[in-house]
């Protein structure tokens, strides 16, 4: 696929689209360039630099100061960074965020793949059922969380009481041990359709002849799934895991809608912690936290991209 492409051009590699048109580009590229092309992209680049890159640099700068978000400041070197590693509240938010992201990634992908398999099978009323399954995609995560918040704290306990299931009789959201589970459930509700779509695209790329051949050879359904479907859609699985995990690390609105970070600080995500830098007077400190968070996500991204390259998955 990339055989016609010079090695240097592969540096954008993993994320760059199929390099199909190289021959034409080189043919034209020898001459002068129409300045119009610069007009098409330079304003965008300028805005991007100003609104995305500049704040990132400013943030790194202030993470080395004791700026409170207002008033005077001076350089304090790396002491913010050192303090972060000694701050149990911050460390706890990292533990929660990563645990949550792992749980949500697994749950979302299991559910999404199941739904995709179901929608791809020979079921009746496929269009209608599909429409229903994708509804969460168009709804605000915050409002959905508010609705679920009532379900978790009132409806579920009331039902549990009626049927005598005492462990569920009190609100899950008020329970330090189980509040995270409620957040995972709503995250799955909200995020599964997006992942399902990617899986559906993957399943539809599998030619049905493959199954017919396997069926003739007497492979059972589970066997077919494990030995045929799963390997054939592996690329889509990897993409879903990467996109999902990165997204779930930044979870914010569902937590705001369900627990607000509570009870206590049991469900406080790193993002929430960082945002508290607005009001808490520890702007610089939370900026240091943000930089650490960035480095961590970057490392994860690089590892994931390496994995993709090794697998030869084309994005």
């Amino acid at each position: 696929m990339s055989t016609t492409l010079p090695v240097a051009q592969r540096d954008a590699a993993t994320t760059s689209p199929e390099p199909g048109k190289t021959s034409k580009a080189t043919r034209k590229g020898a001459g002068r360039i129409d300045p119009t092309y610069y007009w098409m992209i330079v304003p965008v680049l300028a805005l991007f630099a100003f609104f995305i890159t500049l704040p990132a640099l400013v943030g790194v700068f202030f993470s080395l100061t004791n700026y409170a978000g207002y008033g005077d400041w001076k350089f304090v070197g790396l002491s913010n960074y050192v303090n972060i590693f000694k701050d149990p509240a911050v460390l706890q938010s990292y533990v929660f965020t990563f645990g949550f992201a792992v749980a949500a990634t697994v749950a979302v992908n299991v559910v999404a793949l199941s739904i995709a398999l179901g929608l791809n099978a020979r079921i009746k009323w496929r269009t209608g059922i599909r429409t229903v399954f994708f509804i969460p995609m168009v709804l605000s995560g915050l409002i959905v969380s508010f609705v679920f918040s009532y379900l978790f704290s009132n409806t579920l306990p009331a039902l549990a009481e009626r049927f005598g299931v005492t462990p569920l009789a009190s609100s899950m959201l008020a329970d330090e041990k189980w509040a995270w589970l409620a957040i995972v459930v709503v995250t799955v509700w909200q995020a599964a359709p997006g992942a399902t779509i990617i899986y559906l695209a993957g399943l539809q790329s599998v030619p049905s002849e493959v199954y017919e051949a396997a069926g003739m050879d007497g492979a059972g359904t589970w066997r077919q799934f494990r030995s045929l479907t799963l390997p054939l859609i592996m690329g889509y699985l990897v993409i879903n895991i990467i996109l999902g995990f990165k997204g779930f690390l930044g979870t914010y609105e569902i937590i705001v809608g369900l627990t607000g970070g509570g009870p206590g600080m049991a469900t406080q995500s790193v993002a929430m912690k960082i945002f508290s830098g607005f009001t808490g007077g520890d702007y610089a400190y939370q900026m240091a936290n943000a930089v650490i968070y960035f480095v961590i996500t970057l490392v994860i991204s690089v590892i994931q991209l390496r994995l993709i390259q090794r697998r030869g998955v084309s994005l």
């Binding site: 179901g118 099978a121 079921i123 994708f134 799934f225």
Partner: protein, 320 residues
């Protein structure tokens, strides 16, 4: 619930599903009978037959209740009076229905103003996303052999590695300094935040457009702008739909940026307004749910009316 669905997965795995004895044993016999008989026969029956897998259909219907029940619940709650909500589960249908809750919430939240604000942010975000990312993608794809454009592409993509929480604190300060602590500022950031992904989607598409199409127009003296507008843009229509849908949903439902950026509560967007009902002592659930319902309804209705178009657009993004 997760378990219920996942047990369905192996069964749904392929066209010759339902070999499992647990469900649809009557039809489970088909593949095995086929393997004994002539192979040509199976192919025809599985192609044209489209024998409905009823066991799986029922399972999928049950699973779809996980979506329908919360929505039903929202509607039911929105139509209840405070007394009807009481201490019950909230799952019963209200009798009588209190439609006046909707009118009350309409007034209490100043719905029209926030609807307008949300709609304006969304419209401009969608238009901005379409314009900037299609132009950028065109310029990059047609000049891929030039360092500057390739570099620009990598640079824009780098945003995908910067999580929003990392830049948000300085960003808010910066936009406030510029007087962009309003819906207009949110539009800027919605456009720029989505630009990496959107450009990526477009580039693949632009590359598939043969350059010969443009060259003949250029021979006739068309400028690059004209080529883009008259030839490329119409050809991009399917991708415009895809990018537009993503931009619309992302912008309409966004909570983080409007909440943090828009200083004037009167200009706030619909999702953020729902925070109003989260006060410690606020237990007016009928009003709250009526308001939630009204905030959810627009996208829900549009989606259901145009689901075929929406889903095919979104699928296009996934296939890429």
């Amino acid at each position: 619930m997760t378990a219920t669905i996942s047990t369905g997965s192996p069964r749904g795995s392929g066209p010759s599903a339902s070999t499992r004895p647990s469900a649809g044993s009557s039809r489970g016999s088909r593949p095995s009978a086929g393997s004994a008989g002539s192979p040509g026969k199976i192919r025809r029956s599985s192609r044209e037959g489209y024998k409905v897998n009823w066991g799986l259909t029922v399972l999928m219907l049950l699973a779809s209740l996980t979506i329908i029940v919360p929505l039903y619940f929202t509607v039911a709650m929105a139509l209840k009076s405070a007394d009807q909500i009481g201490t019950g589960t909230g799952l019963g249908w209200p009798n009588p229905m209190h439609w006046e809750n909707l009118a009350e919430a309409f007034v209490a939240t100043n719905f029209p103003a926030h609807f307008l604000s949300t709609a304006l942010v969304t419209v401009f975000s969608v238009l901005g996303s379409l314009a900037t990312s299609s132009l950028a993608a065109y310029a990059i794809a047609r000049n891929w052999n030039r360092k500057f454009f390739r570099g620009s592409f990598v640079y824009l993509l780098s945003a995908m590695f910067i999580p929003f929480p990392v830049i948000i604190l300085p960003l808010i300060k910066q936009t406030a300094l510029l007087g962009l602590d309003n819906p207009a500022g949110v539009v800027f950031l919605h456009v720029l935040g989505g630009i990496s992904f959107n450009t990526l989607l477009y580039i693949a598409f632009v590359r598939a457009i043969p350059a010969e199409l443009e060259e003949s127009a250029r021979m006739d003296g068309a400028t690059t702008w004209q080529v883009f507008r008259k030839i490329i843009l119409p050809l991009l229509a399917p991708m415009n739909a895809t990018v537009g849908i993503f931009a619309f949903l992302g912008s309409w439902n966004d909570f983080l940026l409007p909440q943090m950026m828009i200083a004037d509560p009167a200009l706030q967007t619909l999702p953020v307004v729902q925070m109003l009902f989260q006060g410690e002592f606020n237990t007016d659930y009928s009003l709250a749910f009526a308001s939630y319902l009204m905030a959810m309804a627009p996208t829900l209705v549009v989606y259901i009316l145009s689901q075929r178009w929406v889903l095919s657009g979104v699928m296009r993004g996934a296939v890429k």
